[in-house]
Symmetry: C2
Subunit: 350 residues, 2 copies
């Protein structure tokens, strides 16, 4: 039976990408070798890394002066790398959920942290707005999309200091003006590829200013100097990112996927708001297009709903334990058809 | 044409592993989903992580009191994590090549480093011996096999302080008495799997003694508490490690592969020593069974040799630029048949 994969991440990847990714495990580019067993210094793999970085530059229209890196370690490593590289004395953070919190915790080990705004008062069910950004901080850190709670920043603050953004769960889902950011990072395993690779887009002029000695693997400049291959990269994960970005480019890029994502989100949330048996958990204006969190008003029916969903081939809609209920992740590769199947099942509960 | 993959890493993996690895990209364990797009918190993936760790414990006979972790970041990250977690004031290192050097550099950022012995005087062509290990250091760091130069420690020092070993390029190639070590680490991409995962075996009682605040992703205790899933792990790389370790177990484990590796190394080095056109670069008693480095006495014939090798399907024998000449990596998955093909081609040069 066809599966409808609503998992929050590692999340759904395009079928054609999976086919190419499987074929390369057996025979990569007619080398007679697996992509898993070729040297990262071979011309074939160097071309993969270079093409992946070029696709990022093209798809997000990354301006001159920014470097594009594929690193190990996930966004969790970025929570530390950002302050290691950019925090001289004080940084500002917006607290919009678990991941923002973890980023704050890492920054506090290295300097002063000012939490400018938080939505913790209402279980992170909205995006704080109207805060004033001080000019004496080294950067402002935000989380564009909160995978666990299902909120998303639909616009970004005008920022007088470098803006650092964790875009792990909505990068490549919409156009972004990279020039407004000092640094963008994203774990690959939502819209970009499998777990194991992490994208960093960093404005070079921000680096080298803390005077801090940094362990090499945490030092952006080391990775820039190594052209994203300071050490053996997570080669297969980068390869599958490259395939996924190629798929996105062939589809028409981020403006095309933006429309499709809007269509899916509209279809889902319109249905949700129509159905008296369900309710959303996030302030309407801040609802995520990537992770739609919702509850059954009668929680005694949860098991029955999950059973029906399972019978329809739906996978991965149990909500995170911190938000409860359900979560439908609507990442780039999820077809509208899957959303329709989910909405149909929801309809049977009303 | 069948390829004979002598690449130094990412290196050759068993054919059956590649077939299983490719199949799981399309449909993992009959879930109807790709291994690349399933949650790391799913029971299916948790079983993978658990099985991989259990296989390490079984194959290396890891005693109680040691934790087994699969982490991001490669051995290069371990160069930093080791001193972050274990270096209070002073550590001792043995300098046997480029990787040992990089480890020394990272440690020096965090404390005093005493280089007890070095083979840099002879381009790292031997393993230093006869050094005295002080008792006032927090640990002694060694590199069991030097991938670039092709030397290997065939025995380990009796060590009055915790012994830390980078086993990236010879782990699982032979039995090791883990109880003699405080910490063992290894990038996966030689004998264990693809690039992107790193194995750490650490004696728990050594941790928590530096008083240092450690960024979470660099803190072994954080990963132990998270059961090797503090953050989304490099899932596919761990999966392929699991498959490779299963393959090794089915083959008879490390004592069985030890015999096969000895047979391959003997076949190669005996041939090398018989052939007047070639010479080895490493002191005979320290020659690596994993990476055999050698030169053509008449370097003008190098191109001709590489051309013949290529025609025979041989891949990856160009030496590292620091050691020159040729390097044949004889990792676990390389069959004796490939060594015979290489030796035959070498024979035509004599």
């Amino acid at each position: 039976m066809k599966k409808h994969n609503f998992g929050a991440g590692p999340g759904i990847l395009p079928e054609t990408v999976l086919q190419q990714a499987a074929a390369a495990v057996l025979n990569f580019n007619n080398t007679g070798l697996s992509i898993l067993e070729i040297s990262h210094r071979s011309k074939e793999f160097e071309a993969v890394m270079e093409h992946a970085r070029t696709l990022v530059r093209e798809l997000l229209n990354v301006p001159e002066g920014y470097e594009i890196l594929f690193l190990h370690g996930g966004a969790s490593t970025q929570f530390a790398m950002v302050p290691w590289n950019l925090l001289k004395t004080k940084a500002a953070y917006i607290e919009t959920g678990v991941w923002a919190n973890k980023a704050i915790k890492e920054a506090k080990m290295l300097g002063e942290v000012e939490v400018l705004a938080s939505s913790s008062d209402k279980n992170f069910s909205y995006i704080p707005k109207g805060y004033k950004i001080p000019t004496d901080v080294d950067y402002l850190h935000i989380t564009s999309n909160n995978t666990i709670y299902g909120s998303e920043m639909h616009s970004f603050p005008e920022c007088p200091v470098p803006l650092v953004c964790d875009m792990s769960s909505d990068i490549f889902s919409r156009p972004v003006d990279v020039s407004k950011f000092g640094l963008i990072y994203a774990g690959a395993q939502k819209n970009m590829g499998p777990a194991g690779a992490t994208l960093v887009i960093v404005k070079k002029e921000l680096l080298g200013k803390t005077g801090r000695k940094i362990s090499s693997m945490l030092d952006y400049q080391v990775h820039i100097d190594g052209e994203s291959m300071y050490n053996t990269p997570p080669a297969y994960a980068v390869y599958v990112c490259m395939l996924t970005l190629e798929w996105l480019k062939n589809l028409g890029g981020v403006s095309a996927i933006d429309k499709l994502n809007q269509e899916k989100a509209d279809y889902f949330y319109n249905a949700l708001d129509r159905m008296p048996a369900f309710r959303g958990t996030i302030a309407k204006e801040d609802r995520s297009r990537m992770n739609a969190c919702f509850l059954l008003n009668d929680s005694s029916k949860e098991e029955a709903f999950l059973q029906k969903a399972k019978e329809a081939g739906i996978v991965g809609i149990i909500g995170h334990r911190l938000s409860g209920g359900f979560r439908a992740s609507l990442y780039n590769a999820l077809p509208l058809e899957s959303v329709k199947v989910l909405v149909d099942v929801m309809g049977t509960m009303c």
